[in-house]
């Protein structure tokens, strides 16, 4: 890096005593004219002192060290990195929405309440479920909401002996973590050889102790549970509820409504299927929907419509309570609302159809070089697997890092856990054919490198702002703040 322009310094390193950024008007009196001395801070916080321009330059330069969806293809399986429409950023940030206080008189926030109500209704329609809460702030938060709601349901029905949650071994880590947080004992069941739920294993695991079975549909291998009706029946016969992790809903939107397959509760990810930006780790939104018999137990409030007025006065005494202080990640939900308003029944299904087409195209094109772990049609994502022994010792992690050198963000790696050296690719429907062809060509090039110059792959990345990072030392001696 340039030794003269120290762009990579931390803000605190660029700080110079006495520099000022944003100033405020001076108060007339001193703080200790109003507050006793013993309430006041004795030291000064060690924060950077920089001019506003320095701050702008600092963060602008940092942004330039990032890959981002706007600039790079992100084939991350299960993340649905689709185009984030700019109109929604603008519209969700309109001052009347951005400046609305959550405790403002309802007559002053009818616009927000209407948009939220309509979003609730739209989500009900595309899933077939009876009610939706917009409260959860993320997918995992939605999962916890759903499982706690299920728990409340069981408590209300006297099913206090139900203390177990069943998850398949292909589940995302948040599923068992959620079940544990909700106080359940987790039963992991092995998937069948075809990657789907092993019905015998499920039957053996189901018991009067089962509260919920959590399934991702389609699953994390990108495969639909063809026997879902039978599975749902087994779950219900056992007295348990069926929870659907909706992270992969992009494969189903417009094509199928989960309520039809017997799903009792599910969450959706606005920052996946519904095109809200990922933000480098949030904020997301994870609305949770429920079938009619479970709906009374969802967190409150859910926006209600009374005549032509919208209100948060939601009288559901059986509700599980609140999952966060206020009503949801509203600005994120507004983007989801915008997205759904731009489709009708005809165009909505094109999303899923194109997502499925794109994933299968990549799978088919890479066959013979990088093979899908399950050699059959996938839905919106496919999982490849490499064998390091056949690849001159090159691992999935190396392939991922080498992709960065070619200007692609890496796909999801080492997940799901049942696939060795997994590479999970989800192109999404918003990528054009040239981008997919470029990705395929680069993967083919990396395949050649694996065979001819494997060290190039093992030492990757070579062209990023930094080389491969020593994560071991970082974890042994954590330095987490200046």
């Amino acid at each position: 890096m340039n030794e003269f322009l120290k762009h990579n310094e931390l803000s605190i390193e660029k700080s110079r005593a006495g520099r000022r950024g944003v100033r405020f008007a001076q108060a007339e009196k001193q703080v200790n004219d109003y507050l006793p001395e013993n309430c006041l801070r004795k030291d000064t916080p060690r924060l950077p002192e920089m001019s506003e321009f320095d701050v702008v330059r600092h963060f602008t330069r940092l942004s330039q060290q990032n890959y981002s969806l706007d600039a790079q293809f992100y084939p991350l399986g299960s993340c649905t990195m689709k185009y984030n429409p700019k109109a929604y950023d603008t519209l969700s940030a309109l001052e009347p929405f951005a400046g609305a206080h959550p405790f403002a008189p309802e007559s002053a926030v009818q616009g927000t309440l209407q948009a939220l109500y309509e979003l609730q209704e739209l989500l009900k329609k595309v899933t077939g479920l009876a009610a939706f809460t917009l409260q959860p702030a993320a997918g995992a938060h939605g999962e916890l909401t759903g499982i706690l709601t299920a728990r409340r349901y069981h408590d209300a029905h006297g099913n206090t002996a139900r203390c177990e949650v069943i998850v398949p071994d292909t589940a995302h880590g948040t599923n068992p973590a959620t079940a544990n947080m909700a106080g359940y004992h987790v039963i992991n069941i092995k998937s069948a050889p075809n990657g789907c739920v092993d019905k015998q294993a499920l039957a053996a695991a189901l018991s009067p102790k089962t509260a919920v079975v959590m399934l991702t549909i389609p699953n994390t291998l990108g495969l639909f549970e063809t026997d879902i009706k039978e599975i749902a029946d087994m779950v219900h016969k056992a007295g348990a509820l069926l929870y659907m992790d909706g992270a992969n809903f992009n494969a189903l939107i417009g094509l199928a409504t989960p309520a039809d397959f017997g799903v009792d509760i599910m969450h959706l990810n606005i920052h996946k299927t519904f095109a809200a930006p990922h933000g480098g780790g949030g904020p997301g939104a994870g609305p949770v929907g429920a079938a009619a018999h479970v709906a009374p137990f969802l967190p409150h409030p859910i926006v209600q419509k009374q005549g032509s007025t919208y209100t948060l006065a939601d009288n559901r005494p059986e509700s599980v309570g609140k999952m966060k202080a206020f009503y949801g990640n509203i600005a994120v939900c507004l983007r989801g609302y915008c997205y759904l308003r731009q489709f009708d029944a005809q165009t909505l299904k094109e999303i899923a159809e194109c997502a499925v087409l794109n994933a299968n195209y990549v799978r088919a094109a890479l066959k013979g070089k990088f093979n899908a772990y399950f050699d059959r049609a996938c839905m919106h994502e496919c999982v490849l697997s490499i064998d390091p022994h056949a690849c001159n010792g090159v691992h999935t992690a190396d392939v991922a890092k080498r992709l960065l050198d070619y200007g692609f963000y890496a796909p999801t790696i080492y997940f799901p856990l049942i696939v060795p050296e997994a590479i999970m690719i989800e192109p999404t429907e918003t990528e054009n054919k040239e981008m997919l062809d470029a990705f395929i060509a680069v993967m083919e090039r990396i395949f050649d490198e694996i065979n001819t110059t494997p060290e190039l792959v093992k030492e990757a990345p070579h062209t990023q702002p930094v080389k491969r990072i020593d994560e071991v030392s970082a974890a042994r001696m954590p330095n987490l703040h200046w």
């Binding site: 109003y34 009347p96 206020f326 890496a410 990023q464 990072i469």
Partner: protein, 442 residues
């Protein structure tokens, strides 16, 4: 409409896959489920959508805001959103591929650093969903650390925070008991001391409390530590620019709603959960963390670290299921703190204190209204009204003023009490207009 494929594209792709149409690929979905009739409204073009959403926005009436109660209107400098809305930050993914995410990672490291500096605490995370969920995580951590199941929470905690705590702990065999307030609106410290036992995992204190008053934390801290329990403090992150920090009264965990740092109200979300702790509890903190590392050439770099705590590795053994957090809100906060610096923070805090106290004086000057000055307050205080608070709110709303939070919603005996907040965005004219409007109530 965002799908780019032409008919020719689709033809070539289907040929490569070796199928006639997409429906062949959907054969894994049973026919009975496919293509349900969806009753959706007409699809809107971007122009139509824009017009429609503007219509919705017009249904929100802008009121001069004097409500706090857990969400505060502060001035957000233009540079904050100009920077955080850059596509490179906004559309980036979680920085798992560290080499391609140094921008995001460094901003998180600077956020963690700024928060630790502001709170005088040793450890923090990349963020949580909001103050309430951060508080829930802190309480759960205390029960894990101490092995105890009893938690004493201040009765003067935000009512929604109490509900979230209940929802998060109900099934875990954790008992939540309240520490009662005095008639003056702060905690009854001697009663609390008597309540703390060898079974107490932690005491949860809010300072400022829900009524806006600052609590005396030292005695409470000593009392809970004497019995081997921990102290969790819920604070106002902005006010820490001038107020006593949690470290000064030996808090083990300090949490806050970070919305006050560079984030707009947005009707309640996205907000920003801040969770900090003493050094020895670092590994008990759930959530992402960024650390400094070296790359193989010895260059300084940033990376997600201590990941073995997290759900993708621990699965059912993880302390928390948290995955995505509130990264852009945390980015807003660190940009805000960097723009203000310690001096700017002092200035904005001083203005908050002044505006609130000036307003309190003006309200005291209105016949029938009395500010309850039982304890020091930062930017929020209780007003005793001659009529129901709801009536005051309704009257003032007609004049374009959001008067405050009706305390009768939380406590029947306080139905004549209004929780009023004035921040640096309220001008002297706003304050006089408020007092004038109050005069018209009776």
């Amino acid at each position: 409409m965002f799908t780019p494929h032409t008919t020719q594209d689709k033809k070539e792709m289907l040929a490569k896959i070796g199928v006639q149409n997409v429906q062949e690929l959907l054969a894994q979905i049973p026919q009975e489920f496919l293509y349900p009739a969806l009753d959706l409204p007409q699809a809107l073009s971007e122009a139509e959508l824009t017009a429609h959403v503007h219509d919705l926005a017009a249904k929100n009436k802008p009121l001069k805001n004097f409500i706090g109660a857990g969400a505060y209107e502060h001035f957000v400098p233009a540079a904050v959103s100009a920077l955080s809305s850059r596509g490179e930050f906004l559309t980036a993914y979680t920085p798992y591929q560290a080499e391609a995410s140094q921008g995001t990672l460094q901003t998180i490291y600077e956020f963690q650093s700024s928060i630790c500096a502001l709170f005088n605490m040793d450890a923090t995370t990349a963020s949580h969903y909001d103050g309430a969920t951060a508080l829930a995580e802190a309480v759960l951590a205390c029960t894990r650390i101490t092995g105890r199941k009893e938690v004493i929470i201040s009765a003067l905690l935000h009512p929604h925070y109490k509900e979230v705590l209940t929802t998060y702990t109900r099934h875990a065999g954790i008992t939540l008991t309240e520490a009662k307030p005095t008639a003056q609106g702060t905690l009854d410290v001697s009663a609390l001391k008597a309540q703390i036992s060898a079974d107490t995992a932690c005491v949860v204190l809010a300072t400022p409390n829900f009524l806006g008053y600052l609590e005396q934390a030292d005695e409470i801290s000593k009392a809970v530590h004497e019995k081997g329990g921990l102290l969790v403090s819920l604070v106002n992150a902005l006010a820490l620019g001038i107020l006593q920090t949690p470290a000064e009264y030996d808090a083990d965990f300090a949490v806050a709603e970070g919305q006050v740092l560079g984030n707009k109200l947005n009707f309640g979300g996205p907000f920003l959960g801040i969770l900090t702790a003493k050094k020895q509890y670092l590994r008990q903190l759930p959530g992402r963390m960024v650390g400094i590392a070296k790359d193989k050439d010895g260059n300084r770099s940033f990376v997600l670290t201590l990941q073995a705590r997290e759900q993708h590795i621990r699965r059912e053994k993880a302390a928390s299921n948290i995955c995505s957090n509130e990264a852009i809100c945390a980015l807003n906060a660190v940009i805000y703190l960097t723009l203000l610096g310690p001096q700017g923070l002092k200035e904005v805090c001083a203005l908050n204190v002044e505006r609130a106290h000036q307003l309190a004086d003006l309200i005291d000057g209105v016949k029938g209204f009395e500010v309850l000055r039982e304890a020091p307050f930062f930017n929020e205080f209780v007003v005793k009204c001659p009529v129901k608070a709801s009536a005051v709110i309704e009257k003032l709303a007609q004049q374009g003023i959001a008067a405050g939070y009706d305390l009768g919603q939380t406590c029947k005996q306080m139905e004549n009490c209004l929780l009023v907040c004035a921040t640096e965005v309220r001008t002297p004219n706003d304050l006089t207009a408020y007092a004038e409007a109050l005069k018209g109530v009776l």
